[in-house]
């Protein structure tokens, strides 16, 4: 009896030693920082909807311990503790959840409020960027490494890539309609449009569109410029009421897209959140553009 007990203890000690000797994870994030995780992350705080959706898409919704107030998808995260929202992010609230990984995107002051404090508290922070759709897919793999779910991540990324290839195969590369995607309106009458050098612009391109407006220095453009560009298809990411209001202002009724009923509403969460739903958006849009081409 003592001998079996002794062997069990020895075995347990060896296993622990083996686990202890396992090398820590080293992950390189979008800013080139090398982030060191002692073990795959179990308590994750993803900041911003995009990061939350990516983590949840990997089946890790139960490992999420804190979200920010604007995140509404997926439904599993709705009851989670809030660590920030309209007025910024609370370091206290984050720390209270004892996370072992914080995922953040450089937007809305998140970096300034979080990087410094987290590094002093030795909580690893991964910074993700989504400058292109390819980078979004890369983020899936990155998160897989950080959470020890490489296999699932590879499968998910692979599925996204496959969907993109199917979309590409469907439309002919020569006929690409000129498209403007309006993402918002400013208080002074300017409109915000999707720029070609962002993942939104990239998504439009992958869906088979061509930008009607050339590269802009600032994201806000005069409505006159959009109207003068006269795109084949006009897209609006927002509510139907806001779209109708925009189209009622002077000049918009001149657009051929408006006159030929080729002005469509697209989902903000599909085009403005760089996460898994972006691919739904690309597929839907490519079907829409194909149908528009028929007319």
């Amino acid at each position: 009896m003592f001998r079996s007990g002794f062997i069990l203890c020895a075995g347990w000690l060896v296993a622990q030693a083996g686990a202890g000797l396992a090398a820590p994870l080293l992950v390189e994030d979008a800013l080139g920082r090398t982030v060191r995780l002692e073990k795959p992350a179990q308590r994750i705080v993803p900041i911003f909807s995009s990061n939350t959706e990516l983590v949840a898409a990997l089946g890790l919704a139960d490992r999420i311990v804190g979200v920010e107030a604007f995140t509404r998808d997926p439904p599993e995260v709705l009851g989670k503790p809030l660590i920030g929202g309209r007025l910024g992010f609370s370091v206290d609230a984050i720390v209270r959840q004892s996370p072992d990984l914080v995922v953040v995107t450089p937007a809305r002051q998140a970096m300034h409020q979080i990087l410094e404090p987290m590094s002093r508290l030795h909580i690893p922070v991964i910074v993700l960027q989504s400058r292109s759709v390819r980078e979004v897919i890369g983020n899936v793999r990155l998160l897989g490494r950080a959470t020890g779910t490489e296999a699932r991540a590879e499968a998910l990324a692979g599925s996204f890539e496959a969907r993109l290839q199917r979309v590409q195969a469907r439309h002919s590369p020569t006929v690409r309609p000129r498209v403007v995607l309006i993402t918002g309106r400013l208080g002074n009458g300017m409109v915000l449009i999707a720029r070609s050098d962002t993942y939104t612009g990239d998504a439009l391109r992958l869906a088979g569109a061509r930008p009607a407006l050339e590269q802009t220095v600032v994201p806000q453009v005069s409505p006159e410029a959009v109207i003068a560009a006269d795109p084949d298809v006009l897209l609006f990411a927002g509510t139907r009421e806001h779209f109708a209001e925009l189209l009622a202002t002077p000049g918009w009724s001149l657009l051929r897209a408006v006159r030929a009923q080729r002005a469509y509403l697209v989902s903000r969460s599909e085009f403005l959140i760089p996460g898994p739903r972006t691919f739904d958006g690309i597929e839907k849009l490519s079907r829409l553009l194909a149908a528009a081409r028929e007319h």
Binding site: F70, R86, L87, G184, R185, L186, G187, N188, G189, M190, L213, T216, V217, V218, Q220, V221, S222, P223, E224, A225, V226, I227, A228, D230, G238, E245, A248, T249, P250, G251, L254, R268
Partner: protein, 327 residues
């Protein structure tokens, strides 16, 4: 004197012509003529539905700012007085913030114009109440009350922006309004603005004699038949209403209400019967030119109008300083 008026009229027409061509896409004079002749192309239609109402609105907004500024300078007897002295900018910003951030069922462009007008004019009423309503208005009291109210309104606006903005309507959307800029109205909007401007001009001309008398000093004005404190109260209300209309259509445009009356006084002297219309004309020219620049300097974006006028405001004051220094 007639020649000077002719020159001013020509300058106004010239600036309108410049502005009709200016934009992210410069339209040649030929294109402008074609559009007026009934051409059907997209460019011509765009000029007619978008650019012409825009430049007319710019001229009218500039005229209103010139009138308001001239009255404020007359009331405060100071060539450095400007139309936002009594809190109208703070009030307008609060109104605009509410219109932009609080979801209401009404169409947004009328809401924005309406609430910024109410905010601008309402702030002045508040200043008049605080600065002394019963006995009439003393200019110094009004200024102090104006500073206090403006500060409080600024705090209210900042708080509202923080509390009400969300991911669809962020701070930038609201801040962009405060930098000033004319939102292209439809032709009905231009007509309404034109009517209001004509009304404003008529109302303002009735103040001309009183403003002349105010310049003689309170006692002498009294001796010449004016009741200074009652007149100041009325003049401030009229001027603020005029400025509030300008703000409703053009946002917070800095310096025009200060420079236009200043330049007009150089040209035609201090009598307000001539000063007021000249100030309106010069204000119109300034805003039309600056708006044209705003639309054409960084295509396809627009630089906020308030920034352009501020860029010219600074050198203007250096110029005034240089003039004063000359013996």
């Amino acid at each position: 004197m007639g020649r000077s008026r002719l020159l001013l009229g020509a300058a106004l027409l010239g600036s309108l012509g410049f502005a009709a061509s200016a934009g992210h896409d410069w339209a040649t004079p030929a294109a402008v003529f074609r559009s007026l002749a009934g051409d059907d192309s997209l460019q011509s239609q765009l000029l007619i539905t978008w650019r012409y109402p825009r430049i007319l609105a710019a001229a009218l907004v500039g005229a209103l700012l010139g009138l308001g500024g001239a009255i404020f300078q007359g009331v405060f007897r100071n060539p450095l007085a400007e139309p936002y002295l009594l809190g109208s900018s703070g009030g307008a910003a609060v109104g605009a913030t509410i219109a932009l951030l609080v979801p209401m069922g009404l169409p947004s462009q009328w809401l924005l114009a309406g609430l910024s007008f109410l905010g601008a004019w309402g702030a002045t009423w508040l200043v008049l109440l605080v600065g002394g309503w019963r006995r009439g208005a003393d200019a110094a009291h009004l200024l102090l009350a104006g500073v206090a109210i403006a500060a409080m309104l600024g705090a209210v606006r900042s708080f509202m922006m923080l509390a009400l903005s969300d991911d669809t309507m962020n701070l930038q959307a609201v801040l962009s309004w405060t930098l000033g800029g004319i939102q292209t109205p439809g032709w009905w909007g231009v007509l309404l603005l034109g009517g209001l401007t004509a009304l404003a001009l008529a109302a303002v001309m009735t103040l001309a004699h009183g403003l002349d008398l105010l310049g003689l000093g309170d006692e002498q004005a009294h001796a010449f038949g004016l009741q200074p404190e009652r007149f100041v109260r009325w003049a401030v209300l009229v001027a603020s209403a005029v400025v509030a209309v300008a703000v409703a259509w053009g946002g917070l445009v800095a310096f025009v209400g200060l420079i236009a009356p200043h330049v007009a006084r150089w040209r035609c002297g201090p009598r307000h019967r001539r000063l007021l219309p000249e100030s309106a004309a010069i204000g119109a020219i300034l805003v039309v030119l600056c708006d044209g620049l705003a639309r054409s300097v960084l295509p396809p974006a627009e630089i906020p109008l308030g920034l352009i006028t501020a860029v010219f405001g600074g050198p203007f004051f250096l110029f005034v300083l240089a003039r004063r220094r000359r013996p």
